[in-house]
Symmetry: C2
Subunit: 109 residues, 2 copies
């Protein structure tokens, strides 16, 4: 099968899973870290920083863009990528909610 049964879960569960999945690769973590820390966000710079080929980096950028965590705008001959603040905030809230929901009391096992 190999096909996630998205329709069997809530919209919120799917959304959080989608965000988590997008962060589920070290290259994409590295991209996000770069974009949150550095001022520069030219695609070429990201490619230079990562130990992966240009096409592979482009693929990772596309995935992050597809979940909305980043956005890219054409800037002359190159593309400027940066964090999409709106979605970033939503992700932050959702993850915080997940982590906050644990009753820090004693576990049952």
């Amino acid at each position: 099968m190999g096909l996630t049964k998205t329709n069997k879960f809530t919209k919120e569960q799917n959304e959080l899973a989608r965000l988590a999945k997008a962060l589920g690769h070290p290259a994409r973590i590295a991209i996000i870290e770069h974009l949150t820390k550095a001022q520069s966000c030219i695609c070429g710079d990201i490619v230079k920083e990562l130990p992966l080929s240009q096409s592979t980096v482009s693929q990772h950028l596309k995935e992050l863009k597809s979940v909305g965590l980043i956005k890219g705008t054409i800037e002359g001959p190159s593309v400027c990528y940066c964090i999409n603040n709106e979605v970033w905030l939503v992700a932050k809230v959702q993850f915080e909610g997940l982590f906050a929901s644990l009753k820090s009391a004693e576990n049952c096992c």
Copy 2:
């Protein structure tokens, strides 16, 4: 290829990606949500709650266990699953760190 180049990234990036990846499926989000909210954590109850077969749920539990987010202890004929507080805290801190690192100032694009 299809093989993540783990060795090219930092330990921290790989660890965070590993945690995110484990949360990157709605069934596993549902499991985590159940374990953080409910007191009961018997494997059978989780299976009943999820719209997936017993073997598939077992596989998801195994993945969550392999990254350390949950732990399971045998309790008579059944198994009691719960959040692993130590790893949970590490994950919480790591995600918070990622989300906190964004300079909320104006973006470049």
